[in-house]
């Protein structure tokens, strides 16, 4: 029986992994600039031990000045070694993270649900969630961080029941790995552990049993100690760059509408309201199941037709919330609340009302809320309605797969910065030696990173330019290297150049190019076959 169970789990996880890499070449065919940065830096570290800015084995990648946690990059190196620098190798860590996360959600679900068939159903649901499928098909540090975080929670809970040194070290290690993988975890991890120690809900329920666990306090101290290298490796303010850019305290000050500022305590009232609203936004089924805000639509977070979880799950999420409140007196249910709140806190402190990527550390608990609600609803139904319910879930699965693999890229292609880079490389590679310079004029702020990635430019050449690297007024980190120059192309002037390749948005009049004897042009394919991505003009 145990063997059979392992076989089923293995089968489900294999399907999950397959769905995360199936047609990855076509959907998403292109990569985003953050993905390109992760991939190229992994390539650079693999070959030279330094990142593109010539920092030796960094903990945070300077990249576009956003100091990305470098864990994802390091874990990508073995895949680049095996498969080369390709979209598949770049996204492999994320794909595996998605499957690992789903498996640990299944394990944690075991604490709440004893019936194995419901747990298996929970595993299937976890594997098939739109957010998990979507984010696992993109190279995202957040996904890796969420996997480590969920693993940490599982080991933590197991260790809580009965002390075990391996589990103890396991959760400390996973939590540290999580904070080294994504900024948000740097808030979520300590907050979760502190909430578990203080247990404020228990306090509110007037249960004054012992509060602190010495071993756990030690683990908090160890984890906080591990923050030191992050700050030593890059200047403290640089690490906080992201928070400074995104936190809502700065953006929304003075919080209340200016017409109302004379009312006593109004700023405070609005400030707290805004913070609570940002937290409560994650309890709205509409945000989980369908509303797509503009900042989501314009990023790789965009999951067409869905918010994060399935439509049925977003409704049962509320049932789950009610069940948890009902059972809040039990320790194991309060853990879920603390997990959720700690995971959401980094998202709630930023300006966005609802931000799928920043709440990923809470997704394990969200899924458990959904599943508990789902199981409850299922148990209430009669046989006929049970069949209807299961059919609905099955239909939703098929829709999710079609949606994510077949359709999603139609809506999200712009967010992966197509720009013709991938296609243009194939054209230029064949004639590269015949030209002295390649001038790139792209609307993408960080277009250089795609050239580095797709051309696999020698990292030593890029590192040698590191002293010149600083962002321009458009926050672009473009830098000239080798034959590549990044600047605006003026056709009337630049057409006179010799042995030059011009690469730009396809807004040139091709008839003019045709008239010029020494010029020929190529149009690169756009993800939507009706358009072109860029034009490449070869001036002999």
């Amino acid at each position: 029986m145990k063997f059979f169970r392992i076989l089923i789990i293995f089968f489900i996880l294999s399907i999950g992994f397959f769905l995360r890499i199936w047609h990855i070449k076509e959907s998403a065919a292109n990569i985003g600039f953050d993905e390109a940065a992760l991939g190229y830096n992994a390539y650079s570290l693999m070959l030279t031990g330094k990142d593109e800015h010539a920092f030796k084995y960094p903990i945070s990648l300077k990249s576009f000045g956003d100091y990305k946690p470098a864990m994802y990059t390091y874990l990508t190196i073995p895949f680049i070694k095996i498969f080369g620098l390709t979209n598949l190798s770049l996204r492999m860590v994320s794909a595996i993270s998605g499957v690992v996360l789903a498996y640990f959600v299944y394990l944690i679900l075991g604490i709440y649900v004893k019936d194995e068939k419901y747990r298996i159903a929970g595993l299937i649901l976890a594997v098939m969630q739109p957010w998990s499928l979507h984010f696992s098909r993109v190279a995202l540090e957040t996904n890796l961080s969420a996997a480590f975080y969920t693993m940490g929670i599982y080991f933590y809970l197991k260790n809580r029941n009965k002390f075990n040194i391996y589990l103890y070290i396991g959760y400390i290690f996973c939590f540290i790995a999580s904070i080294y993988s994504y900024h948000g975890a740097r808030v979520a991890v300590p907050l979760f552990l502190i909430l578990m120690q203080l247990d404020p809900i228990k306090w509110m329920l007037r249960d004054k049993k012992k509060l602190f666990n010495r071993r756990e306090i030690l683990s908090i101290m160890v984890i906080i100690f591990c923050y030191i290298p992050i700050f030593l490796n890059a200047s403290a303010m640089s690490v906080l760059t992201r928070f400074n850019q995104e936190n809502f305290f700065k953006i929304f000050s003075p919080y209340a509408p200016k017409e109302l500022l004379n009312f006593p305590l109004i700023k405070f009232y609005y400030l707290i309201g805004m913070l609570c609203g940002r937290l409560w936004a994650y309890f709205s089924p509409i945000n989980w199941g369908g509303k797509i805000y503009i900042w989501i639509r314009q990023s790789v977070m965009h999951i067409p037709e869905f918010g994060m979880v399935g439509w049925i799950e977003s409704i049962t999420f509320i049932v789950g919330v009610v069940l948890i409140i009902k059972n809040i007196i039990k320790d194991k249910y309060r853990v879920l609340v603390y997990w959720l709140v700690a995971g959401l806190a980094p998202a709630a402190a930023t300006w966005n009302w609802f931000h799928p990527l920043r709440c990923l550390n809470a997704m394990g608990s969200v899924e458990i809320f959904c599943f508990l609600g789902m199981i409850y609803v299922y148990k209430q139904l009669g046989t006929f309605l049970k069949i209807v319910f299961l059919s609905l879930i099955l239909i939703q699965f098929v829709f999710i797969v079609n949606n994510e693999i077949g359709f999603s890229y139609y809506e999200t292609h712009g967010n992966f910065q197509p720009g013709g880079f991938m296609e243009g490389v194939e054209i230029i590679k064949n004639v590269y030696d015949q030209y002295d310079q390649i001038i790139v004029d792209s609307p993408q702020a960080q277009s250089y990173i795609f050239i580095l990635y797709y051309f696999k430019i020698d990292p030593i050449l890029v590192q040698s330019q590191s002293h010149l690297r600083k962002p321009n007024e458009k926050r672009s980190w473009n830098v000239d290297f080798g034959k590549f120059k990044f600047r605006t192309i003026n056709w009337q002037e630049d057409r006179k150049l010799k042995k030059t390749i011009l690469w730009k948005y396809p807004d040139l009049d091709v008839n003019e190019i045709k008239k010029q004897n020494n010029a020929k042009y190529f149009l690169t394919k756009h993800p939507i076959s009706l358009y072109d991505s860029s034009i490449i003009v070869l001036l002999d």
């Binding site: 076509e26 009232y269 409560w280 509409i286 805000y293 409140i325 139609y410």
Partner: protein, 393 residues
């Protein structure tokens, strides 16, 4: 409760907002409608609800909106609540709920969001759109046709659309946090945001204390009402407003007296903030078409040859409300006095902009500008935010 009703009345008098088109009775002042509705609803709540529930209900922002602007809706709600109460006693009364639902759909002229999304023709279009989108992708995945067909068919899309509509129910943002929402949707919240925490406490006590009260019927009633309504978003939550009041009031009942005092103070403060907000930003929160019409009627000469903007309709109804014998000119060019948006004389602009010299352009067209009102947000998009009373020279 009586104290809060008094506060509501004072707030209403201070705001003194003109009636919406649905409240217009020619020759009868709006307060002859508002006052009885306030008293009737207050009496209904007093008779039906317990102390805390009554307090919670009459304190909420949506209650103000209902008695002040949507009196018929408030009466309809009372009928719905009466029906739900009956269903709790005897399931046969569901028939009445069905009748009420049909009536509501009838009043909306058959327009129901969810129904409009499951019309077969629209489903076909949606599916075709999706298939076309996939077909024009350069990098096609070419999933097996049979597999695609499993989800690309009318029943699945109908289910998808129904579920997508259903998830809007229990939208905590519209219920508690509308004023902070970044999309700044124009609408009044159902409850003040501090009450969101009382709701959690209420749910906790509801289960822990094993309260013998059947919330299920109310929840189902709220859901039905939500799904069949095609109102401004917060009004779709009208029955849910009543349903949640049970839980919020339960929390008030069960917390200790110190917490009670604190919570009441916080809620009264919230009421104050909300009232201040309404007073100072009424053009933002309320339907300002009424404001526009009032401006026109007060600034156009009585018995004059007048023309009023027809962009959002009901101008004749408003005219007769303010003056029983009012007659309007049908043509802007022929009228002596006009009250229109600045762009109506100069032509529509797609982005609602207006030439900086528009006042000169008006004079050039032979109009003297008598008075200008800048509206808070655009109710005549394309024609600018300036409502102008002009006189032909």
């Amino acid at each position: 409760m009586l104290f809060v009703i008094g506060l509501q009345l004072v707030l209403g008098i201070l705001i003194n907002y003109p009636p919406l088109s649905g409240q217009l009775i020619p020759g009868i002042d709006i307060w002859f409608l508002r006052l009885p509705i306030l008293l009737l609803s207050a009496w209904g709540i007093y008779k039906w609800a317990n102390k805390w529930q009554g307090f919670i209900l009459v304190l909420s922002p949506i209650y103000f909106a209902l008695w002040y602007f949507y009196p018929l809706l408030l009466i309809e709600l009372m009928v719905w609540v009466w029906t739900i109460e009956k269903i709790r006693g005897n399931k046969k009364w569901i028939v009445l709920l069905v009748v009420l639902s049909i009536l509501r759909i009838g009043f909306q002229k058959g327009k129901v969001d969810v129904y409009e999304k499951i019309i077969p023709r629209k489903l076909s279009e949606e599916i075709m759109e999706r298939v076309k989108s996939e077909d024009i992708l350069t990098y096609k995945t070419n999933l097996p046709l049979k597999f695609r067909r499993l989800s690309y068919n009318k029943p699945v899309f109908a289910i998808k659309n129904i579920l997508q509509e259903s998830v809007k129910f229990l939208d905590v943002e519209t219920i508690f946090f509308g004023e902070f929402h970044p999309l700044s949707q124009k609408g009044i919240v159902v409850y003040y945001w501090p009450q969101s925490f009382l709701l959690i406490v209420g749910v906790y006590f509801y289960f822990r204390k094993k309260i013998k009260f059947d919330l299920k019927t109310y929840l189902i009633g709220s859901f039905v009402y939500f799904m069949i309504s095609k109102e401004i978003s917060f009004l779709r939550f009208s029955i849910l407003w009543i349903t949640l009041s049970f839980l919020i009031a339960l929390a008030m009942e069960k917390i200790n007296k110190y917490w009670k005092i604190l919570v009441v103070l916080v809620l009264l403060y919230s009421f104050g903030v909300n009232a201040y907000n309404f007073l100072l930003l009424k053009g933002k929160w309320f339907d300002n078409r009424a404001m526009a019409m009032e401006f026109c009627m007060k600034n156009l000469p009585k018995d004059g040859d007048n023309y009023i903007t027809r962009i959002f309709g009901n101008e004749k109804k408003y005219c007769r409300y303010y003056d029983k014998n009012c007659v309007l000119n049908e043509k802007i060019d022929e009228a002596k006095n006009i009250c229109v948006f600045a762009g109506e004389l100069l032509g529509r602009q797609w982005n609602n902009t207006i030439d900086d010299r528009w006042q000169d352009l008006w004079r050039g067209k032979g109009y003297k500008i008598v008075k200008i009102l800048q509206m808070y947000d655009s109710i005549a998009y394309g024609y600018s935010d300036y409502l102008v009373v002009g006189e032909k020279e």
